[in-house]
Symmetry: C3
Subunit: 663 residues, 3 copies
């Protein structure tokens, strides 16, 4: 890895015969597929009966692919344990929040914490690692598949026991747990860890701490399984390891990728919502910084199952997606899937070729991607994504907090993406970073929708501010403790309020109160659960009008060290709210001295990359409506070699341009 751009597809040779495989490989070469991901559901093929393991088929496949110039990402097959594991063993199966025990026949039906599951998973993975690890075709590994995509927190008896262990480790004594969770409330108090329930059926809501901690426990356990699997593979292979994850799954991606080698994600965002696609690129690039990420799965045209489908991509969109991905740091752009399934529940899903071996409606787009890949490969390989000056923190732990406490059905991904979209639309080059990311290199940091700010995070943010950064906190950030309880020293905690130089006067749901927020010359309705401030050391930047507490600050700013901390206590909503938020971002980007931004029109992106002594702009129209951007100086069109003049560059629908500027 690291030496080319990959263009790949998920491949299931175990479902077809040798003849079909020959045809597949021939057609893959025609389509420019240079990497195949295999094996993630093939446990049965590898171990048809318990203990009878035979990997020769996959050795054969990998070799055959390799002989044809196609490299392989090998997967562990643990999402689908065979019938010999599941049949007659309800105690090994996933149990949902209603207590329903899953049966055989779908995927993720086993509890990944079941001890015997872990044992059998370790055995099969070790066999695979041993058998295919040494093969020259194997350039990478994928653990399992889309952890926790269909399921969330398992409620089985095994998990109950592990939950109690996990609590014991976290809290030491049950008394400390009781204190932390405030279990005197509703006489919840536990005398032993064994008495702490899983958050199953109850007449009304469980304690917030119980609900959030059970999610964090589940996050940790699935990551632990991934760690175990990776450790086994590493004993036999040096190829890097990943997992095809997503912010839609019930995992803590930051924790999950901690012990993996590179980040990858699956995405089936519909074409008319490209910011929700781009945020993935900007985020997954940062899980393993300095290492290109992979798009491990996307559709050539539409995703589908027996019971649903997304709209097919317009012609041109797939290429735009691929170019944007490579430009934003992807090393690979891979399809799910190569050949349409003939059976199962994903038969209708889009693919490169059909179940009858013919090009699908997406095939032409695949050829276009390949064409583009070839054209941009050398410029991509000789550059890296430019260091962003603006970052927004993303937290899956925060998603867990919001799942516990959604106020009015708030959706974490929706909130975060919508905030991100505004930064994007201002033409700002940006990173979306995990909570634990170092903040070096940034000038402006956004921390929206993070109920609980960890001490480590706060420490880093404070240092960032002191060193000259501008830190914008909110909305909905800081109001909960690590235990998912309310602070008792100040609404947002004494530390944050002191640093920000404010006292939070009130927190309450702002909807329906008729409150307008005035800031940056704009007046907009305020929404979401809000905090209103009495500036102590800070200056008011946004002030309320109307509502229950007119004339109160909802945005404040305070200089601290070389930088500033800005509190955003409420969410401006509606069209004016959008304007206000963008003005805020624009204002602080200017104040922070952000230079890496363009006047690119909405729906088109500029992805700047840095070469040794030059800069490259990848300009891609993502919305099919075309657009434009002003080039600040003359450059060279990398694809044509032609000179490009400064001034407005017009972009056609889904068009991409690559412009090189001397440094």
């Amino acid at each position: 890895m690291g030496k080319k751009l990959y263009h790949g597809a998920a491949y299931y040779p175990e479902l077809w015969n040798e003849e079909v495989m020959e045809q597949d490989i021939r057609m893959m070469k025609e389509a420019g597929i240079n990497v195949a991901r295999i094996g993630e559901f093939a446990w049965f093929t590898m171990e048809p009966e318990e203990g009878r393991i035979d990997l020769s088929f996959f050795v054969h496949v990998i070799d055959k692919l390799y002989q044809n110039g196609i490299e392989t990402v090998m997967c562990t097959p643990t999402p689908t344990p065979p019938i010999w594991f599941t049949h007659g063993h309800p105690e090994r199966m996933y149990v949902d929040e209603h207590g329903t025990v899953m049966g055989h026949g779908s995927r993720q039906h086993a509890c990944t914490n079941n001890r015997y599951f872990r044992e059998r998973a370790a055995i099969i993975t070790e066999h695979i690692a041993k058998a295919v690890g040494p093969l020259p075709g194997v350039i990478g590994w994928q653990i399992d598949n889309e952890f926790k995509a269909h399921v969330s927190e398992c409620m089985c008896e095994t998990c109950k026991g592990l939950w109690h262990e996990w609590l014991r480790e976290r809290y030491g004594t049950v008394e400390q747990l009781n204190d932390a969770w405030g279990t005197h409330i509703w006489s919840e108090y536990y005398h032993t860890f064994e008495q702490v329930p899983q958050p199953g059926p109850a007449p009304f809501l469980h304690n917030s701490s119980l609900r959030t901690m059970y999610q964090l426990f589940s996050f940790e356990k699935i990551a632990e399984f991934s760690d175990e699997q990776a450790a086994i593979i590493r004993r036999y292979s040096d190829a890097p390891i990943t997992h095809n994850s997503s912010v839609a799954f019930h995992v803590d991606n930051e924790r999950l990728f901690q012990n993996l080698d590179f980040a990858s994600f699956d995405t089936y965002v519909q074409y008319d919502n490209s910011p929700a696609y781009l945020i993935n690129c900007d985020l997954f690039r940062n899980f393993k910084r300095g290492r290109d990420f992979w798009i491990m799965e996307t559709s050539t045209s539409w995703s589908a199952s027996l019971e649903s489908y997304a709209m097919a991509h317009p012609n041109g969109y797939l290429r735009a997606e691929a170019v944007a991905a490579y430009a934003l740091g992807a090393e690979a752009f891979c399809y799910w899937l190569w050949r349409q399934q003939r059976a199962g529940c994903e038969q209708p899903h889009g693919s490169v070729i059909s179940a009858w071996g013919k090009p699908t409606i997406g095939y032409q787009s695949v050829l276009e991607v390949e064409q583009a890949r070839k054209e941009i490969e050398s410029v991509i390989l000789s550059t890296t994504p430019a260091q962003a000056e603006v970052a927004m923190t993303y937290s899956d732990r925060s998603k867990a907090f919001l799942k516990t406490e959604p106020h009015r059905q708030l959706n974490h991904r929706g909130l975060v993406t919508s905030f991100y979209e505004r930064i994007l639309s201002l033409g700002i080059h940006r990173d979306v970073i995990p909570e634990g990311a170092e903040l070096d290199g940034y000038k402006l940091l956004f921390t929206p929708f993070i109920h609980y700010l960890s001490d480590e995070y706060k420490k880093r943010a404070q240092a960032f501010v002191e060193a000259g950064g501008i830190w914008i906190v909110g909305p909905l950030s800081g109001g909960r403790t690590e235990q998912h309880t309310i602070h008792t020293d100040a609404a947002l905690g004494q530390w944050l309020e002191s640093l920000a130089g404010v006292e939070t006067l009130y927190t309450y749901p702002m909807e329906g109160t008729g409150t307008q927020g005035q800031a940056f010359g704009v007046s907009a309705p305020l929404g979401l659960w809000s905090a209103l401030f009495q500036p102590t050391e800070a200056a008011p930047v946004g002030v309320t009008d109307g509502g229950l507490a007119p004339g109160t600050a909802f945005i404040t700013e305070r200089r601290h060290g070389q930088g500033r901390i800005v509190m955003l206590g409420s969410m401006p909503v509606g069209e004016e709210g959008d304007v206000l938020l963008k003005k805020l971002i624009d204002h602080y980007a200017a104040e922070a001295g952000v230079t890496l931004r363009t006047d690119v029109t909405n729906g088109t992106i500029v992805a700047p990359r840095q070469g040794e002594d030059f800069t490259v702009w990848f300009v891609v129209n993502m919305d099919g409506r075309g657009g434009r951007v002003t080039l600040p100086r003359a450059g060279v069109d990398v694809l044509t070699g032609a000179e490009v003049q400064p001034g407005v560059l017009q972009m056609g629908p889904y068009e991409h341009r690559v412009v090189r500027f001397p440094n």
Copy 2:
């Protein structure tokens, strides 16, 4: 049967006393009720304790009715096994897809595959058949009641065992099942039939084959139960046997009626949706061809339960319903129910008389039906429905496929009815026929929404085409195999594509792609999952404009033998789509030489019937808005004896006219 038109009602004398029965019978005579259906929920009355069986009450009732000129359809009481069967026996009860076990107190709560249920059902039915079979009043039988109306596929342990047996019979070896279902996918593979699960709780969707086959298994089992019951009755009675079914229930009506003697159905379509009513008449007429069907249940005005109700019929509607039914081949038009229930969960349901023995709001309509029945009886009895030239195939098996694979919540009944409505609205006399129906006599055959075309069906359709028929295939037809998998030789299977002279280029969901279909001078948006064609031997008739593959055929036509095969690969939608579809139907009706059609206005129907040397048109306004139709020649108004001139016949709201033309 066969000698009069019946006008009937469901009757529950076991719920009332002798005095009420006297009143009921007196009032039935006044209302013109000449047949009562009894006994279907009376198992307790017949066998209050296990083994203590006494049918004398029903013998008495039947005799009493008969003495008063009212004949009887006797039912078996198996939908409601008494408490001695159910209490303390959860293993005998129906289990739903979530694993929930039903309790006593509603209906269809027992598993009809439970062995002891079958045993007790056989015993009570034999006793009934013996006791009432010889009575002169018994003119017909009904097995059970509305099979699978409230439940679908049972998941109990008994069913699990039978499922495994059924699979063994169907597939012979488990290896053949694995091959057929493609169970290497997701490591589903089974080593024994006993390992094949029922499609219960799972994190994501089950394999399509599993889901569809479990439905077909359930279809077969309920039909088998019906067969068993019918066989018992036949040992003691020559009266014909039916079941009161519906396309809304989870049964395969074609299979169910195979071993029954005449078809009947229950209908509670609301008055403002008369095509959904008429399709039943056109379909059920064809389950037992040459034998008149029965409407076994309909409401005099509104249907209701404790938790819902439909709107009451406008005055006049019930008579229009009855006349249309008789004209379209019904021998009987029966109400549910005679006397409003005083207890239970259907107390609010409409009836002929109230629980306190008085006429209901529907009573006057019942008198009007009786008046009409008397007036048309002789002309109905001396004619038969004219042979239709146009047929549309209806398949409950296809409904099962669509339940497994609904794309975006597609509703089989809605799709089919909507297609039917267009044929109806063009004034074409039509049949809706089961898959197994012979095609003799038809000129034009529609096969929409049938995922899987069986070999037998294809053979018959090919012969039909070769003999000069026009066969229109699609939308959504032919794309799945018998096993509910994807073809691997061609999108719609090699057989069909060869015959149609096309190669399917692409199949994909058409919504949102901006694709217009151009055909018959109309341009309409295309929707639903679609197939686009490369005509090989065929001619393009409809071609796409815009979208992902502009200029591609979505309608093709090929001459074959004396006839033609037309592929309809996509669904024109919206108002223009409606126009396009009607133009298509109109065009091919003309091409096929369909003559049995009129210019009747929408909302009014013409039901032609054939006498020895004359034709009769029943013209009925169904929508309450009146209408008109052009009479091609002079005739006689059968109801008045007056001459009717050629030309426009005006119809008042809900009016019916009967016009006789010499041949």
Copy 3:
């Protein structure tokens, strides 16, 4: 009690430390809180281990409060049994209608009918009563908390046994139950009481009698538990006992309060729906007539849980609420809660002070309430609510009937409140009374939405009419028997039809039939399930136009004794329906000689109170839009002492005025 107006808050000192308690008490005094309700969830604090009971903390709290001038309502803590009761004892837990067993960690998770629960509840309550009963600070008691707010009818095995006992007591023999419920239907018949199921999972609806009776059983059992608890307390304390109930809970409030000393309720109606708030005052005043009620819980601004929130009150609304409550007969106006929870699932709920001990956004409103309370206390204490001349009967049993038989998702509370709102909007002083209330003093009685009229009720209503009252029956009243079956002598029962001098011709759902009702010069569409009448001795007052039975009476009037009985067979709907209903109310109020009404504008109320030789009007604007009312004569503004002239009194938003008139 009885000597001041209370202004209170729910208080949870067991969740905080002594220092916080000191702060709390200091701040309570500042805010004018003079009563605290404590202990209702503190079972763990009181009895941390089974049998180890220590009430000293609460003795301390109560004393401390008392020393600071704050009195206490002491609660029994039974909604939240501690983990020693629940852990490992699924048989003690609540089971819902799907058979799901609740776990520890929320509230109302135990079955209140479990014998061991009752035993432990009796023990803890006796200890509490003994320990704190003698304290001077304890001025009242609350049993448990919001019975059946989160749960409804428990389906556990204990309940099954009690259900059978209850049935045996009610019906004597199972044969009588079978007759009453009509169990021959669907072969439901039971041979023993033990066979009668609980209304759990079934393929379709259960028998109406079963469903309604199970609700009544549940009503009785929870009231029995309340009785038991109250009896224990009375052995040690003379302080009056209540329960904080609501019409939203699954209880029969009339039965529940039968053995309690005063009525109280919790209300979280949003500010924009004040009639739904006011109906509570007008109803709960009448559960214990002659005894002021308490508002035991309301929010200072908004209610919330982790998963939902209501909109915050506008400034001024809380004071209007409080003044209206006191004026309408409340002795206390109490908040939930004093100090925001720091943990649990109600952290986000509005409060008086925050978790960090600061005023919330609602705090200022609390001060305004206190100011108003002080200003009106003496006039309230020297007066009582004026005797209403108009009453509307409210029945929780009727709510149970409607839950069993909701027609089309009818909502009892919505129907009743909407009817009430019309009386309110006409400026009529009114009572909402339980079924068992005496009718002395009323001139006009409304009985809407009461499916079943008991013999006692009918007897009282008849006497009321004979003595000169006007009784308006309907809509939806009288059509079911005590057993929730249909009458068999007449649609609404012979007794009612005879008394009303009508014969019900038809009952049917009126929607969609195009029926207009003509009455009082208005024509309005008719809706809901309706009864149409043939007047026998009555006069038609409203007659249908169009629809299925044009020209039929839907409102009739008959003189009987000195009074009249008016049948309202249908529900006028839409804007015209609203007009028609108001005309009807207005007309009969005039006919009945109702004098206690004003021309107050909609959204403002007048609450008249009677002193020894004077009358006081409390005029309160509830909708924030201001309003006006005509004063009939000169009076004195009680708050300012100024004279007030006859004529129009203008009211500002949320303003209240208190005007005293000499008698």
